[in-house]
Amino acid sequence: MEAESNRRDEIHQLVKEYERICRNITVILNGVHSAQPGEIEAIARKALEKFSEVRQHIQSLAQIVPYQQYYRQLNLSSRYHDIWTRAVQTSNSLAAFAVYLLEERFITIEELQTLSGVPVNINNDLQEFHISVEEFLHSLINLTNELSRFAINSVTQGDYNRPIRISKFVKELHNGFQLLNLKNDQLRKRFDGIKYNIKRIEEVVYDVSLRKLNTSV
């Protein structure tokens, strides 16, 4: 039991470090909201470079979590997994945003695996440390929050065409989600947030189109 308690402390310590790195990347990526269009790519690259540190921390984490105890319940209210899931979702979201900024497309599962250094549990068969499918989906929802904000700030920065591209991208994401049978849970609830973000982005596109500020529809 003492061993378990020590391990939990160690995990908490690592997660703290991991969260600090995520906050650093957040600060970098936040830069896009007040950047000129030409600066976006550099910011995205700088953020992606930082993922070597993310990778390193997730892997340290993966090493101390005992084999097959990923979801082990520690007490009535928490599991090992609960300690880091928030951080994992955050770093996934940051990865997805950075990849989008660079190439205006979805992050692939392979890319996420490379950036994070751990596999995604696509077939529900992984025994070792992994990113769950739910965690991956949560970070795509987070991405739409970030993109609705980015659409608005692009207009502020005079980039009138970007919202139109973002709108198309987020609608694709939304249609993808429609293929899933979401249970009435946290994920379904947050899914409604995508709809809200789509509407917001459409309004930005509307404002721009109405005033004919964009170069071509």
Partner: protein, 249 residues
């Protein structure tokens, strides 16, 4: 090092310096709080062990128990000594909240041992007298509230002690404890605690502990009514002796 690297990302304004200072300050505070919480948990845990030692009075001599308790107390004393540097000055009250459980359980344990030895109620300064440094000064104080709440919990241990005594055929002990608890309850009732205050809530527990002891006394009377007390005690001690012999203790 890593902190320095990261702070460069924040634009060079007053904010950067400001928040770096704030971060170091916060980290130190969180760290101290963590240490106090750990010590409080350890003291609580060791004090519970002290109480377990006390309950062995059913099968052991008082002397043996007090000796064992004194050994265990050394460990607790060291925990108090270790933590007291973090509880000096304003920090005593700042982190007291995190230490409170430890003080209460320690009070409960010391009070239980005292009752076993002398059959009366320990005073707050008698507890604190166990926490003296090399020069004989008290290095920690227990608040009145923690003392009172610890004593309230004592009633639970005494209830258990009364029930265990019956198992050993001891008829007078439960009656003694019953009267002790009645007096304690009367004293508590004069404290005038509000029903929803911490003490008010504990009083409900005390009441129920007293009622359990009253039920024990009642059961003794009812059962004792059918045969002579001496005979009952003989049967009980015979029975316990025979079951002890099986397990050799």
């Amino acid at each position: 090092n890593s902190n320095e690297v990261e702070t460069q990302k924040v634009k060079e304004t007053g904010v950067r310096a400001l928040f770096s200072t704030l971060r170091d300050s916060l980290d130190e505070h969180y760290n101290t709080r963590e240490i106090v919480i750990r010590h409080s948990k350890d003291i609580t845990f060791q004090s519970k062990k002290l109480i377990y030692i006390g309950h062995r009075i059913i099968n052991s001599s008082l002397d043996a128990i007090l000796k064992e308790a004194a050994e265990k107390h050394k460990e607790i004393f060291q925990l108090f000594k270790d933590i007291c540097v973090h509880l000096s000055g304003v920090n005593y009250f700042r982190y007291l909240r995190n230490m409170s459980n430890g003080f209460q359980e320690y009070t409960e344990a010391m009070a239980f041992l005292r009752y076993l030895e002398h059959g009366d109620l320990i005073k707050k300064d008698e507890i604190e007298a166990n926490l003296l440094d090399e020069s004989g000064n008290k290095f920690l104080q227990i608040t009145d509230l923690d003392y009172v709440l610890g004593i309230a919990d004592l009633t639970g241990e005494l209830m258990r002690y009364a029930i265990n005594s019956v198992g050993k055929g001891d008829h007078t002990r439960p009656l003694e404890i019953c009267q002790f608890l009645r007096n304690l309850k009367a004293q508590f009732s004069l404290l005038n605690a509000k029903p929803n205050s911490p003490i008010g809530k504990k009083m409900e527990d005390m009441k129920s502990n007293l009622q359990k002891v009253e039920l024990v006394c009642y059961a003794l009377t009812i059962h004792g009514s059918e045969y002579p007390k001496e005979f009952y005690e003989f049967i009980v001690s015979e029975h316990s002796r025979s079951s002890e012999s099986i397990y050799g203790h």
